[in-house]
Symmetry: D2
Subunit: 352 residues, 4 copies
Amino acid sequence: MNNPPRLSFASDYMEGAHPDILRRLSETNLLPTPGYGADQFTAAARDKIREACAAPQAEVHLLVGGTQANAVVISSLLRPYQGVIAPDTGHISVHEAGAIEAGGHKVLTLPHRFGKITAGQIRELLDRYRGDETRDHMVMPGMVYLSQPTEYGTLYTAAELREISALCREAGIPLYIDGARLAYALACPENDLTLPELARLCDVFYIGGTKCGALFGEAVVFPRPGLIPHFFSIIKQRGALLAKGRLLGLQFDTLFTDGLYLRVGRPAIDAAHRIRRALKENGYRLFFDTPTNQIFCVLENRQLERLAQWVDFGFWEKQDQSHTVVRFATSWATRPEDAEALAALLARERDR
Amino acid sequence: MNNPPRLSFASDYMEGAHPDILRRLSETNLLPTPGYGADQFTAAARDKIREACAAPQAEVHLLVGGTQANAVVISSLLRPYQGVIAPDTGHISVHEAGAIEAGGHKVLTLPHRFGKITAGQIRELLDRYRGDETRDHMVMPGMVYLSQPTEYGTLYTAAELREISALCREAGIPLYIDGARLAYALACPENDLTLPELARLCDVFYIGGTKCGALFGEAVVFPRPGLIPHFFSIIKQRGALLAKGRLLGLQFDTLFTDGLYLRVGRPAIDAAHRIRRALKENGYRLFFDTPTNQIFCVLENRQLERLAQWVDFGFWEKQDQSHTVVRFATSWATRPEDAEALAALLARERDR
Amino acid sequence: MNNPPRLSFASDYMEGAHPDILRRLSETNLLPTPGYGADQFTAAARDKIREACAAPQAEVHLLVGGTQANAVVISSLLRPYQGVIAPDTGHISVHEAGAIEAGGHKVLTLPHRFGKITAGQIRELLDRYRGDETRDHMVMPGMVYLSQPTEYGTLYTAAELREISALCREAGIPLYIDGARLAYALACPENDLTLPELARLCDVFYIGGTKCGALFGEAVVFPRPGLIPHFFSIIKQRGALLAKGRLLGLQFDTLFTDGLYLRVGRPAIDAAHRIRRALKENGYRLFFDTPTNQIFCVLENRQLERLAQWVDFGFWEKQDQSHTVVRFATSWATRPEDAEALAALLARERDR
Amino acid sequence: MNNPPRLSFASDYMEGAHPDILRRLSETNLLPTPGYGADQFTAAARDKIREACAAPQAEVHLLVGGTQANAVVISSLLRPYQGVIAPDTGHISVHEAGAIEAGGHKVLTLPHRFGKITAGQIRELLDRYRGDETRDHMVMPGMVYLSQPTEYGTLYTAAELREISALCREAGIPLYIDGARLAYALACPENDLTLPELARLCDVFYIGGTKCGALFGEAVVFPRPGLIPHFFSIIKQRGALLAKGRLLGLQFDTLFTDGLYLRVGRPAIDAAHRIRRALKENGYRLFFDTPTNQIFCVLENRQLERLAQWVDFGFWEKQDQSHTVVRFATSWATRPEDAEALAALLARERDR
């Protein structure tokens, strides 16, 4: 039997947490701390995040999940008559079960290119709105939502984001970045958007924990404080306030100790690089190329079935009757030997 | 001076009401009646609407305006996790300032063709939703919204609506028709969708008053009663309950006495026919052809400016640098001499 | 048969409109005007209201109904984490089917005394909130809602409202007055709160039309403009924008021509005075005394049944097994002979 | 120095989790599992909860926090025109920052007695609503919310809950119980409301984890499945779906293995018993008596200040100028020596 053991490349939230986090949870378990984020771990996490972002005044709120963070931030930023500009592939556009609309707001979608939208597209939408005689009967574009990396694993460059940021400031609308997988951007050699640059360019962004080494948790950062007054009460009202805030505090304190967050995504990037190389060497067709931990590949359907016997991966979309786009996702927990095993499997299945 | 007097073809809600309505308002003015629709005029209006729709059990609610009717009906029909399927040109998609989203729901748009969508498109959307592994993270299609006539003045045929209705019943989702301009459909020779047919095919629709001869008012009809329990309280909660419900009752009682509603749109249709003929005869280019009271025409920009000196009409969209799509709308109040005057003006401006 | 004809004292929205309004509706019926409040009548109404309020900068929006006005204003003024302070008898607390909560906000009720609350009570509530360690987990008081006259037909004095206004400004929260029956306050000799004084003391108030001589309509006045940016779009989104805004414009233009609004309530006040006198002279027990058009009276149940044969009035509440509190409401349409007829009836029924 | 070390009786969510939970988190940390509750731990937790509740068909959803559970359940159960009946001291009434209203619904409060309300009070409210002629303009009572134990640490008896449950079924409205501290009820000798009895009497309830030995988590139980269709999508839409559902599954699996949940509150009850005895023996005045883990006691203010030097506890309310009501809360993590230390401190401070 030379079959590899079953491999897991289905997503990046399949495992628990970085071992340092679990260790510290155990060490501090019986220490009594105040609730709702008034504990010392949360204070330390906030300080370290501010430092990592070179944003000493930043307001930092630790929430549990990404859809929650998006819904709370967006509904708080928008006035009733406003909507949020987003790529049509944005997580808020498709995969949050209508959370933005449930909060009262339209998602104003723009067609993506590899998960991204451009300053030009945003400007055109703003101009179209302003130039419309019936605009007071329409939803006003009130903010911009992007994700880094995108839903398709691609990256905005610093130059691209600077252009979007400048446009948003000119238009007087906030720019918000969903960083659910931000660690995988930061670990990429191709990436030139650092945390301090993000903090300079955005009005609010979140640093993903759930998919980046934490059990759960997303750190919402307002580089300039006070953008949303009484945000704490809004978090509470939305059912998004964790009683034992220490759990969030301790996780982000750990992730931002000794730069762990900047390193935690590297195993994923290395593994993805190895897998992409194997795909290319073995004649597989990439759907499109990405630098981060998500790899999109077009498989012939029988090939897909054979691979699915040995490895978990994601079905992305049908391409035609006989081909399917699939996604391999690596994570902070992917080991080099897992990537090698997948590479071997891909080589083996090539010839059949 | 052989210039015509200034002509009004900007929209179909520019005048007051059919003279019969004003007369009856005056006659009944000092008669005390109970409020909130418990008056005798509302009772009579309901009976006459039921009869006109051949729907003796129908539940009829009289609301003040169209956006209001759409918002109240749609938010009441949908469960929190559902959205409403609509053409991308639907009034709810574009021109209600986000009222549907403010009520908590996504508008699931389909690309229109001349303002219409097909059963095939709806089926494909339903199939795509059901076939998606992640559908529980998505907005479930929960009802269908159409308008008759459409935003582009076109008409669904009875055959088209039967197919959509059958699909909705198969899928278990209600079909709702916005009849803001319904009188103009009913007055069209091309129309084969009668009120009884609408009542058979829809789960709820509204009969437009505001644009069809009333001062204001839209009659929401549930052919089979009880679809939305306690709809009266929902209307009240949404601020949509008129204290002096008699005003709505008396208007719809008048519109449905001696078949006035079936006749009230004819002057508009006749006038539109005359104008379309003048446009064609004088070499103007129709944007596309429509049988109802809205006429879409492509004007060269200098031509547009000259016409705009004598006549009010609507700017629809830019076509290119030198051409603009405009809309001429006739109404129940358009007189034959107004149509003739516009025809003469169009002939005069052709040559310049 | 010396029985009087059936008398109508059930409420103040039982008739149509002041004859001047109907006359002008007829005169202007076929004049084309732009929609949505861009017409000349609305412009004139706004100017005249500004003048009557001595508030030349005031922003005036004409809405259709009271619950609608309350819901739109309150939900627009409050931030998500705030609630509205109101008397427990306030219309928004009890009789709007939860419209404020449907808009996302708690009504923070204070116990009324004859429909009124005091600056002292409001201050205590604000202090209690501020002094509570867990206040960030509670609803923040964000504005004050009162009505003039109150639900019980009583009046705030200028001195009382000045104290409340000063407190609101000190606390930084807006003061909003529901003037559904404002004409009846303004027509009262006891009233010392003029329109200019209201405009000085409030951040927003509405001048009631529906119960005060109009077919429908409430004029929302922001004495200092810009309090709610893009209020027009919010009105549209809430389904509260009347297509033929001219109907509102023309009604308020008429009510504010030659001071009609200040006079329109007088017949009601005179009639109420006559009825109160008859009640007192004939030994009926007032529930409490009121200066406006609502009269609350305690009837023995058999007396109530006899009166109910000849006159329509409102059942307010059970007092005990054998007594009931009822309400007689007069209106702008009440004629002196109606009041006399009721007085005669009350005298006749006293002895039986 | 014979001073005790600083003692922690401020609340029951000050520590991490029961050691068995942390141990299992560590053991399973790198095991890949599917997300969103499709993992084997969640399946096992659901089975064990069904068994503990003797409700083999029960639908079980694991959420992160109590305010979240309340908001999601209540807004899903109520129709737009309905409100939730609750004691005026209920957590949803006071301490959830308006979450229920933000979801669109009024909390219909009843005056509590030691945190409890009675079937008689609920019946009276229902009767008052039904008997009101204007009820269609009011909020309809649509469900009942209680907590066990209550906010005041008191318990409903099985007899009391049976009466309320019978009334709810007669009235056709669901009964929901907030069991944030349910383990402390179940560990009480005075309690006669078992999990199977709760499952029989309620339409939905939640079993608290956050305050009862878990890091976080509340298990929402529908004893009869299908009460809220597509509840999963609603949870997602509300931002309440944990990506790594395994964390919730594993915690509840642990709490329901070998009856741990029935035992986990005992240390709290034993400690509370010891502290209550010490208070009584030393002449302290209980605010009122409670059988669970919350002890309310009236302290003279100087006494309070002295105690506050050595022990953390909660300030409940001012009683008068010189007395304050405080709360000592024990928890699953309170050790016998902590209770002894507090008892000794109370004895020492008595005489001063």
